[in-house]
């Protein structure tokens, strides 16, 4: 082949490659990309490092799936949804800086948050910002919803009182331990949960025979568990914000040979707990608002999409992450705007939504209400033990 022919072959080759690459580029674009005329930026603030990192990762998984599905299905016609993720490191000050950054970058919708102290700080920062909507994904404290002049803050998960109503009533009336030892973390979350214990079990059965608190960074619970053993309790109730702490306590309890029924605060039953606790969390019972085996159409679709994306079943925190974005997008669609946050907030609050958790409504404070589940760990799997109707 002469030099001229070589050049032509090379030019043709380059042309073929260029066309192929452009075709790949086209096929890689989602339909919404090509038709999108605007971008809706949703800020997700979750702990991706630090003691609550596992929860943050769960929230992120769910939120990302909701965004991907919305873009793939063109849920908001003409709008490309973008998730801007910030790590709050479980600290309020980092979260507030992240929120300011997201607001400066044009995000009006902020979601995420797995720690109550972080939610309180963000609520203070965003509560009077009527151009913003803040939907708290995982934090249980009610305080962030109590004072919000802009009516723009929502709490998706059960608060301490709702959880206590489902969890503690079930333990009292169905499991019926006689004497309970309470071991809770020394934090606002732990203090709130302990207050609920006093409210529900303050008199009669079960009798609270021991109340011990621990530092969130603690790893050695032998002193507390020795007291549990000597208290004569037949039930151990653990309040923990992180599955690692809960798993450590139940593991060390087993190692010390404690024979007690195991109970835990609501909302922490997940694969991280089972992974960290192994056989030591077997038989543990708690309350939650979600399990992947819930039988409704929305959940079946969600579980299938989640399995396709992550090759596993979703946890409660992952479902919350999904709902946090999905509900906002549905509300924006219903309100017909992605910029008027007052209209989106109203549409969100005034509607009844069908979610993977079941029917979801909001009370006047912005707190979500659904049915609750009593869940237990059996053979390394989280199973639904009982259902508590929505109130």
């Amino acid at each position: 082949m002469n030099t001229h022919a070589c050049k032509r072959v090379r030019a043709a080759g380059i042309g073929v490659i260029a066309i192929t690459l452009s075709l790949i580029g086209c096929s890689g674009s989602t339909p919404s990309n090509t038709s999108a005329t605007s971008t809706l930026k949703i800020g997700l603030i979750v702990p991706l490092t630090g003691p609550s990192a596992a929860s943050g990762e769960h929230g992120k998984n769910g939120a990302q799936l909701a965004v991907d599905l919305a873009n793939a299905n063109n849920s908001l016609p003409g709008v490309h949804v973008e998730l801007a993720i910030e790590d709050d490191k479980s600290t309020p000050e980092t979260a507030v800086i992240a929120a300011q950054k997201l607001r400066n970058d044009g995000a009006q919708i902020i979601t995420g948050t797995m720690n109550s102290s972080v939610a309180v700080a963000l609520a203070n920062a965003l509560g009077s910002d009527t151009d913003a909507l803040y939907l708290i994904t995982g934090a249980q404290a009610q305080a962030p919803l109590d004072t919000q002049p802009g009516n723009n803050i929502f709490g998706l998960t059960y608060n301490n009182a709702q959880n206590a109503d489902a969890n503690l009533n079930w333990i009292k009336n169905v499991a019926k331990p006689k004497k309970i030892a309470s071991v809770g973390e020394n934090s606002d979350f732990g203090v709130n949960d302990l207050a609920q214990l006093n409210k529900y079990w303050g008199s009669g059965t079960p009798e609270i025979v021991l109340k011990e608190t621990y530092d969130r960074t603690a790893t050695d619970f032998s002193a507390i568990l020795a007291k549990v053993r000597d208290s004569g309790a037949d039930g151990l109730y653990v309040t923990a914000g992180s599955p690692t702490n809960a798993a450590s306590i139940f593991t060390q309890a087993d190692q010390l040979g404690l024979k007690v029924a195991k109970f835990m605060n609501a909302g922490l039953m997940n694969e991280s707990l089972i992974s960290a606790g192994g056989s030591h969390v077997e038989g543990l019972v708690s309350a939650d608002t979600y399990n992947y085996s819930i039988d409704n159409a929305e959940n079946k679709d969600f579980v299938k999409a989640f399995n396709d994306a992550y090759k596993k079943n979703p946890s409660g925190e992952e479902e919350l992450g999904f709902d946090s974005v999905n509900l906002i997008l549905q509300a924006a669609k219903k309100a017909g705007t992605t910029t008027d946050m007052a209209a989106v907030s109203s549409a969100l609050k005034e509607s009844t939504w069908n979610t993977p958790r079941g029917e979801l409504t909001w009370d006047s404070t912005g707190r979500a209400h659904t049915a609750a589940l009593i869940v237990g760990i059996k053979n390394g799997q989280i199973e639904i033990v009982d259902t508590v109707a929505k109130k």
């Binding site: 630090g50 790893t219 020795a226 190692q255």
Partner: protein, 291 residues
């Protein structure tokens, strides 16, 4: 009574491991006159080796303990390489450099562990029950390993030729150099011993506390408290300081509650910092009056 005796025993056992961590920090401080801020993270890495040896590449648990000492001791040698020049020219920058290494290790482990602690199975499950007192076998094993390691280090420093060289460099670096001791080699050796102590302690205690990426700083603070209580440069002092701190923490948890144990550590640290100079002055006065 049960929980109190339990906690004295638990404190003794945990204190021995504290002593092992502090012994490594103490020897390094005495020889090099500086602090390795990554020492607590070397403890964390010991836990990582224990986790890998117990779950990912199942090994004999005692072999895993030895491996933790070797691997983390080796990392100590690696850390010494870039620090050699700084140690001679600007010890303050060694603090900054090791602080950066500390942050790097903790972030890497956190990333590898998915941001959470990982469980490490006990070498022996169950607990020894003596009437009202219960102590887990794993804690007893950790104490035995810690005690054995401290004895080995102390004997090695006292009786071996290299150990005597380490002490000579610690006492008078220039004099040791004049005597022909290779001080760079001794420095490297001290980094290895120090790292091995921290790694072994982390691996021994990981089945009790889980292998946590965030354990470095609390352990470092504990080691400092032990160092101040037991005295810098003394392996036996580190052991006694560790036991004292462990027992006081245990009793505090049993009597006041577990949330007070951290505070007690800081109170002891402050008390030791105030009392130690007065005690040393009193000892010096005694010696003068005896002379």
């Amino acid at each position: 009574v049960g929980p109190t005796i339990d906690q004295i025993l638990n404190g003794l056992a945990t204190g021995v491991v504290y002593g092992l961590v502090a012994a490594g920090l103490s020897v390094l401080f005495k020889v090099l006159d500086t602090v390795n801020f990554a020492h607590g993270d070397f403890y964390v890495l010991g836990g990582v080796v224990a986790y890998v040896g117990a779950t990912i590449v199942p090994l004999n648990p005692f072999l895993t303990l030895a491996l933790a000492a070797i691997v983390v001791g080796g990392l100590g040698a690696l850390l010494h390489l870039p620090l050699q020049r700084l140690l001679r020219t600007n010890p303050f920058n060694v603090l900054l450099a090791t602080f950066a290494v500390s942050l790097g290790i903790s972030n890497l482990v956190s990333f590898g562990f998915g941001g959470r602690a990982q469980p490490v199975p006990a070498i022996v499950e169950g607990a020894l029950t003596l009437g009202p007192v219960v102590i887990t076998y794993q804690r007893l094993i950790a104490a035995a390993v810690g005690l054995l390691a401290i004895l080995v280090v102390a004997l090695w420093l006292k009786t071996s030729k290299t150990g005597r060289s380490v002490r000579a460099v610690a006492d008078n670096r220039t004099g040791a150099q004049i005597l022909g001791i290779d001080t760079v080699r001794i420095d490297r050796l001290v980094f290895i011993i120090s790292g091995a102590c921290a790694g072994l302690a982390g691996a021994a205690l990981a089945p009790v506390t889980q292998a946590s990426p965030f354990g470095g700083l609390p352990v470092m603070v504990t080691a400092f408290v032990v160092l101040v209580i037991g005295g810098v440069g003394s392996v036996s002092g580190a052991l006694l300081g560790g036991i004292l701190l462990g027992v006081i923490e245990g009793l505090t948890a049993a009597i006041l509650g577990a949330q007070w144990t951290s505070l007690v550590g800081y109170v002891l640290l402050i008390a030791a910092l105030f009392l130690r100079p007065a005690l040393e002055r009193a000892r010096a006065n005694d010696r003068r009056s005896l002379a």
